[in-house]
Every structure is written in C-alpha cells, then in structure tokens.
Amino acid sequence: MAVLELHIYGPAFNLPSIDARCLATIALIQSNLASDDWCLVPSSDPVINAFRELPALKDGALWVTGFRNIASYLKVYGDWQNATAELSEQQAADSEAYLSFLESRGIPLLDLSLYVSSDNYTTCTRSALAEITPWPQSWTIPQQLRDDARKRSEHLGLSGLDVDAIREKELKQENEGIAAQIPKSLRRPKQTVTALLGSTAEQTRFRLEAVTADFFEPLEELLGEKKYFLSDEMTALDCLVLGILAQMQIADLPQPWLKHALEKKYPKLSVWTKENTEKHFGPATNLRHRPLAERSWTKLAFDVFNSITDSIPINIAGAQVRKHSTETKSTKNRADYEQKHMFHVKACRQQSLMREIVVSILSSAGLVGTLLYVGVLSLPQKKPPPTRRNFGEAGALLGLR
C-alpha cells in the first residue's frame, strides 16, 4: 500500500501546524496509523488539490480533505482499528454533537484570536504565515486566510478586536471635511470617549468572557474526571479538541485573552491540553516529514500566473455544487470518495479553463490595442471614392456626366 501523504499548513508557534484542523488531523492519523504508513508534507498551499482545502490526505491519486472527511475515510481505509465503532449509541451522539459544537464555536474563537485581533495578527500570525508559505503565495494566502476568518467569526459580534478596520474608518473620516485642510503635524489627536476608556480589547472584554465561557463550559463538563472526552480511549473528538485547545494555549501573543481564560478559569482543560500537546506534538514525537520538492521554474511561473488570475471572479453557475443522488447508502466505500474527488477535479479544471480563456482574450485584446495605438497595426482605411471623370462643359453638352 502506498504511503499516505498528509498535506498541511506548515509549523508555527512550536506546533507542527499553524492551523487547528491540521493539528487535529495529525493527532488523528498519528494515533491510528503506524508511523511508516504515512508522512507529513507542510505544503501550506491549498491549491495543490481540487478541493482547495487543507488538511488534505493524498492516497495515490485520490485526495480527501477536511478533518471530518479524513476521519471517515480512515474507516474505509484498510486495517485501521476504528475506535468510534466501539462507542455506545449515547457516546456516538455526543461525539457528533460536540464535533459540530467545536467547529461552530471553537474555530471562530481561534479566528478571533489569531486573525481578527489586529495586535495578534500583525505581530505573530502574519510573520508565522510568511515563513511557511512559498513565494508568490505568501502575498495572497495570509490575507485570504484573514478574510475567511473574519467571515467565520463575524456573527460573534466582536469585530471591535479588528483595530485596523476601525482605524481605517476613523482615518477616512479625519481626512474629509475641514480637518483635511489642517496639516497632519498640527492636528491634535481627537480624544474620544472610547480612547479614554482604554484600548478596544478592554472594551470587548465583557463580551469575550461570555463567548469563551460558552465554549469552555460544555467541554469541561464533558471531560469530567475521564481520561479522554468520551471514554478512556482517544477518539476523533479528542483529536479535534486537542487541535483547537493546543492553538488556544499558544504563548507570547500580545492579546492573550484566550490563553488566560483557559488557564485561569478552566484548569482541568488546561492541564489536559498541556499533557496531550506534549504527548502528540512535543519534541519527543518524531513525525516523519517529507521535504518539499524543489520547485522548477515552470511550476513557479504557473504559481505566479495562478496567484494573479485567482482574483478574477469567474463562477460558472453550479460548477461548485455537487448534487445529491437519490439513492441512499448507509456506509461509504472508496468508490464514493473517488467519485467525489473526480467531480471536483472536473469542476476545478472547468474553472481554470474558463479563467485561461478570459485571460487570453483580455491579453490578446490588450496586445492588439497597444499595437493599434503605437501604429504598428493600422485599420484598413476606406479608399477615397473614385473621382468621376469630368469632361467639362463639352461633356455636359454631350450628356456625359
């Protein structure tokens, strides 16, 4: 059997990956496969697969992406000792509920802490991302991840952490009207009530406390006195909890509200995380890395082309939506994953074909335009109408006109 490759966002903050779901997937595979059967590839570029998502598991030609999908694929994949099969009905229900809970409450909290909070993003996350992403994706990926994080966490109503956006708005107001006439060096900084109250992080503290309590309390209740969250065995749920909590305990953030909340108010969770982070991601564990291949210049040119054209919004209606088939199956097999992969490969190819067509039309139009403007090409001009022969007065006399 081929060695499985797990593609992830690269290492940061003393953890093997900067992304919580990638961490969770590492823990999941690590605790279920022998270390010879798989290796880590810190590719940090979601474009490598048709789903445009990381973590991604590569099994031969087949890609499976996302934590949940990989977890269910591993059940299909050969001789894996499936821990979730031994769960009781109640445990399976809890597992489902808490997986959704972690995804809908935990991930947005991390988004707030690492991406939306301007202090944390500019001092830590951005530089960490710049280190792991290859050029030229390092221009686009950090910003895109931040935009995605903003979108995922906007419903929490804590955009106040995003000081950049607020400052931009203030600056815009400042540069309009009469204030714009005064030179910048002479302007007195406006003392607003919010400025007097302290930094934005302080103002949002109350809301933050409510949101973090909403997330940590159900988790601590579920853990109780057990070794793991569901039983004494490690399950997929524990992996996701570990991935998320490990990221929440990152040290050295300028705005460490998440770490403080976890350590001060939920010591049991904090201890559990520390122990298991050490066990799964600590220096003692030897994760087998496959180094990234040197990029040829053709691949580099292709990457540059992609990062430029990616911003062209081309959406073939429905291309991204895979329909539901009416037949229902209770268990999935490998063919299902292959079918799904094929569909998205096709959709992806269609989209890139469309993009290439648009780009080539635009560039050829530009080229022709330039040539016309410079004068190398010229439009075929109308011939001047043939001047009639004029026989003069004599002709008129003879009726020849």
Binding site: P46, E53, A92, A93, S104, P218, V321, K323, K340
Partner: protein, 323 residues
C-alpha cells in the same frame, strides 16, 4: 437676454469692447459659439440638458399604510407568513420566525401576528416584536430583535429555563448541520426552489418577472454564501450526511422522553428543532390547498427515518395549537 449676458460678463471683455467698434455683435457671437469643454470629465451639453430636466415630477410623501390599524395596545410579532389573514396559530414556514412564534405560543403569551418581510424590520431580519403600549398615545416602543426575544419573554411571564451545558452543545447540531441542510434543500436544490421557495418568498414579493428573477438570484446567492462560510465547496451528499448524523444524535438524546426538557412541556430546545422539522413534514404532501410540496424529498426522507423526531414534532405542534 443680451442685456443679462453682458452684465454677467461684465469686466471680462472690456478691452475688446473698447477696441472694436461693434462690441455688441462681438459678444453676441461668443454666445452662439459652443462652450469649449474644459476637462475630459465634463458632461457634454446635450446630456447635461437632458439631466437638467429631471426630476420631472416630485411626488408627495406616502401616507402611512391604512391597513396597519393594529391596536397598539397589543403585542405584535412580525414574522413571515404567506397570505394576509394572519392567525396567531397559523405557523410560519420560515424556521427563524417559527422558532419564536412557537416559543411564544407554548409559553401562552398574548400576541398577534403581522405578516412582514425583511425590509420592514429595523435590524433587517425577521422576526421582531413590537411590545404593547398602555394606551394609544404612548410613544412607539423599541422593536425587539430575535436575539432578545427570550429575555423579553421572561419579563412577560415566560418560564425561565436554563439550558444544561450539554444541550448547549447539541444546539450546534441544529444551528449548524440541520440549518445547512435546510438551506441547501430549500434554496440550492433546483426543483424545491421552483416548487416551494419561489412560491413562498418570491411570488409574494412582486409580480414583475424581472424583479422576481433578481430576487431569486439574490436569495440563492445568499444561501450559497452562507454555506461557503465554513467550507470551500458545496457538496450535497456531505451536507445531507451531516444532517443525518444530527437527526440520529438528537433522536438518541431524546430517547423515550416526550420533550428534550424531560418534563411535560416543551422548552426552547424543542421549538428550535421543531422550527425545522415542522416545515419539512408540513410540506410532505400538498394538503392545505396551497400546493406547496417538496419535489426532492431527500432531506424529508432522512428525517422520516427517525420516528422519534417525527412524533416529537406532533407533540410540539399540539402544544402550539393549544397555546
């Protein structure tokens, strides 16, 4: 006209006036010659003249709609309901609205229903409540948005319920898995969109086919955006698998109890689930003459496999209609 022109350009062509013998004809000529365009961005004269004629008519302000003669002394819940004759027990087909309508009904709070749409809401989303005032003269109270309805209802005598921590986690199944499946089922499934969503949300909003088309596009784009918020692609089998898992887990959580509260009366968690299961099962067959019916019954069939939840919906429905 000539007079006014010279007075306007007073001082400017003075030198010319003095030098030429017939200054009058000189200025006259400059009137008729077209003004030289000063910058590229200036509109050409004919277009400027065209826009100068607008607005042709300015209408008076609209009067307040006469039919909103709802007694202000009664609490009104503004929700989406098809048809005008709104009855408080006529349940809304929109899950967000139905959740709070059912919540008020099971708590037996007095209120009346007003049919509204998103544009009517101060927050841009339905439902919202306008609390009753003591007398007709009182200033209009602040509208209560859906996030604050529960707190308001408790001040009005609804029983206070504290969700235990575990059902807080299970709530994620409803808000995440089931909601996503519902969005896909209603908006992105073409047949269902034609058969149900168009009739519910689009035909009722406008009779103009162009407006209908743009509304349909907006609705579907919004649903797609919402689904793409947490994923990079939309994969219907995956969405339905998650919904199936959610129904299974909820069914396990309910076990043999009547309601999730484990008492004789339903609570907030019950209505949250009911808000999705009721519209799904209600449109299973076109019974009530509205010929609304799911064409693609995949999601409905997934729900039907969990009998406990189907029975649970019946029980909550009975409580609502009694309320």
């Amino acid at each position: 006209m000539h007079e006014s022109y010279t007075s306007k350009t007073n001082g400017h062509p003075r030198e010319q006036d003095m030098n030429t013998t017939d200054g009058a004809t000189q200025t006259k000529r400059s009137v008729t010659t077209p003004r030289i365009q000063k910058s590229w961005f200036e509109l050409p004269a004919p277009i400027r003249q065209l826009f100068d004629t607008f607005p042709l008519i300015t209408y008076d302000e609209n009067l307040l709609p006469q039919r909103t003669s709802i007694p202000r002394t009664q609490t009104t819940l503004h929700i989406f309901t098809p048809g005008d004759q709104a009855n408080r027990t006529r349940l809304s087909p929109n899950p967000a609205c139905l959740r709070w309508q059912a919540y008020l009904l099971i708590n037996k709070l007095p209120f009346s229903i007003v049919s509204a749409n998103n544009h009517a809401s101060p927050s841009g989303a339905l439902p919202f409540i306008l609390p009753a005032t003591k007398s007709r003269r009182d200033p209009q109270p602040q509208a209560i948005s859906s996030a604050k309805i529960q707190r308001w209802a408790i001040t009005q005598g609804a029983k206070e319920e504290v969700l235990d921590v575990r059902s807080d986690a299970y709530m994620a199944l409803i808000d995440q898995n089931i909601r996503n499946a519902w969005l896909y089922n209603l908006y992105l499934q073409d047949e269902n969109f034609e058969a149900v969503a168009k009739k519910l949300y689009i035909r009722s909003a406008s009779s103009n086919s162009l407006v209908q088309m743009s509304l349909a596009y907006q609705l579907r784009a919004a649903a797609k955006d919402e689904l793409l918020r947490t994923r990079t692609f939309i994969d219907a089998p995956e969405i339905y698998d998650l919904a199936e898992a959610a129904f299974r887990s909820l069914s396990t959580l309910l076990a043999d109890e009547k309601f999730f509260t484990k008492t004789e009366s339903p609570g907030l968690f019950d209505v949250a689930l009911f808000a999705y299961t009721h519209p799904l099962l209600d449109l299973a067959s076109s019974g009530d003459g509205q010929d609304l019916e799911w064409r693609d019954k995949s999601l409905l069939q997934i729900l039907m496999r969990h009998e406990k939840l189907v029975e649970h919906r019946e029980r909550v429905l009975k409580q609502c209609l009694d309320g």
